[in-house]
């Protein structure tokens, strides 16, 4: 769950993600990316939202993008992936990543339920929440703006 108003665009999440997953600091291969417009307020971290009807799975020519049965997450099969980049282009939420060195698709796997980016976010802009719960939380936050205390 992202609170874009809190994000200061420091990009620490990109660094810790790549260190955790790739064992080197390489933001180009991180699973999370911070979209940041210089000189404008606010920044937006983007990552895979594990959609219910994933477009990336639809366009994958080799059916490498599948939902893991045990976790319900959308994870591309590295063995099958041919590195066409179709999933990156089609993702409406800019959440699909690409490993430019091994030429394979990358997805956030939520670090087995303990996301590294959440742990290190200095402003608490990234939070880990159940999707059903976060929906009502977002409604509450939006309503609070209309009806301040």
């Amino acid at each position: 769950m992202i609170d874009s108003e809190r994000c200061i665009g420091c990009k620490l999440c990109e660094v810790v993600c790549s260190v955790k997953k790739e064992r080197v600091s390489d933001p180009s291969r991180s699973r999370i990316h911070v979209l940041f417009w210089e000189g404008e307020a606010g920044a937006l971290p983007v990552f895979c939202q594990h959609c219910e009807e994933p477009l990336c799975a639809l366009v994958c020519p080799v059916n490498a993008v599948k939902r893991e049965e045990s976790t319900g997450l959308i994870i591309p099969d590295r063995e099958l992936c041919v590195g066409c980049g179709g999933c990156v282009s089609v993702c409406p939420l800019y959440g699909a990543g690409f490993d430019g060195i091994e030429k394979k698709a990358l997805r956030c796997d939520l670090c087995q339920g303990d996301p590294t980016c959440v742990k290190y976010c200095p402003t608490g802009a990234i939070r880990f929440a159940d999707r059903d719960q976060s929906q009502i939380d977002k409604k509450r936050a939006a309503a609070r703006k209309l009806y301040p205390r």
Binding site: V19, E38, G39, Y120
Partner: protein
């Protein structure tokens, strides 16, 4: 092995680029960023050079923790050079992501010497350095030039360090790392312009190796949990001069690590954080560094800057009073390149 990494020596006059590994003893003594920049400035600047001589160098240096799991991803860049009007050692830190991007492009330090024949800018991309024509936007301001360079390179993610354009008369010049990070730097700006250099653009997608990734993440986690703000009352009894000296040394250290300036509030020799930074440094780079040694490194870097000023004829009584510690560490970087 996380270290050594590379420094590039660029001669704008001949267009020659030489890339060298940064020797480990230099790392151990001066870390990176402001530390190594000042060492290079001291040893590569010939004495008694004319103010506008092309032999004067401009050094850009990323901190040794830049682009690694350090608080707020450490992206600051240090700019050093002999100030043309006063002859002093110029030292400027600009925030933003330039330092981190420079490391992702494969270099920790850029040493720029000579004068280009016409207006140019340097383009650094994944280990390659090119000199490109800057004539079309030489008169643009620093922000405008950044936009033009990004469009020319087709790289929206490129980080650009650019210099402003002075208007009529003695107007100040600025150096700019991005839309937010911009500092008044007339003399460093003039030095940069005297080389016919409008900007340096960097874009990198190369990984930075980490000596012990798990330990680095653990240390970072602890650093972010412990964030005790200093109690002002604790420091009120100190000798003010000693405090200034310590702050200067600490700042030199922070600049060499490449971490955020606001970390200075959280970093002091009395605090646990200090020890954690030593551990983080070891985890990221493999450099063994005890907390006491870190403070000595800060002293060494600050003293090297003061040595430069003294050699150039500046011997203020106050400066000398601040000055302590050893005077000579020898030459850790070969003079000819």
């Amino acid at each position: 092995m996380a270290l050594p990494r590379k420094a590039a020596f660029v001669d704008l006059g001949s267009g020659r680029v030489e890339v060298r590994e940064i020797p480990r003893p230099l790392r151990e003594s001066f870390l990176g960023g402001r530390g190594i920049d000042m060492h290079l400035l001291y040893h590569l600047t010939e004495t008694n050079l004319d103010t506008w001589d092309p032999g004067n160098i401009l050094v850009l240096g990323a901190g040794v923790l830049a682009g690694t799991p350090a608080p707020l991803a450490a992206g600051a860049i240090h700019i050093g050079g002999r100030l043309p009007l006063t002859g002093l050692a110029g030292s400027l830190i600009l925030g933003g992501f330039f330092g981190a991007e420079l490391r992702f492009a494969g270099f920790d330090h850029l040493v720029i010497r000579g004068r280009a024949e016409g207006p140019v800018y340097l383009s650094v991309q994944d280990g390659k350095i090119e000199t490109c024509d800057a004539a079309p936007f030489w008169d643009e301001d620093s922000l405008g030039a950044q936009g033009v360079i990004r469009d020319t390179l087709g790289e929206d993610n490129a980080q650009v360090l650019s210099v402003g354009t002075p208007g009529d008369g003695p107007t100040p010049l600025e150096l700019r790392a991005d839309a937010v990070h911009c500092r008044e730097a007339s003399e460093l700006g003039l030095l940069m312009k005297s080389k016919n250099l409008k900007a340096v653009a960097v874009r990198g997608t190369m990984p930075i190796e980490i000596e012990d990734p798990d330990k680095a993440l653990r240390c970072l986690g602890e650093l972010m949990v412990h964030s005790p703000l200093p109690d002002a009352a604790d420091q009120s009894g100190r000798d003010i001069i000693q405090k200034i000296y310590e702050d200067e040394c600490l700042q030199a250290l922070i600049d060499s690590l490449g971490i955020m300036k606001c970390s200075s509030d959280l970093l002091s020799p009395e605090m646990q954080q200090w020890e954690l930074y030593g551990l983080l440094l070891e985890a990221v780079t493999g450099l063994r560094c005890r907390p006491s040694e870190l403070m000595r490194t800060g002293e060494r870097i600050f003293n090297q800057e003061q040595l430069f000023n003294i050699r150039e004829g500046f011997t203020g009584a106050q400066r000398e009073r601040l000055f302590k510690g050893h005077f000579f560490w020898g030459e850790l970087w070969p003079k000819s390149w």
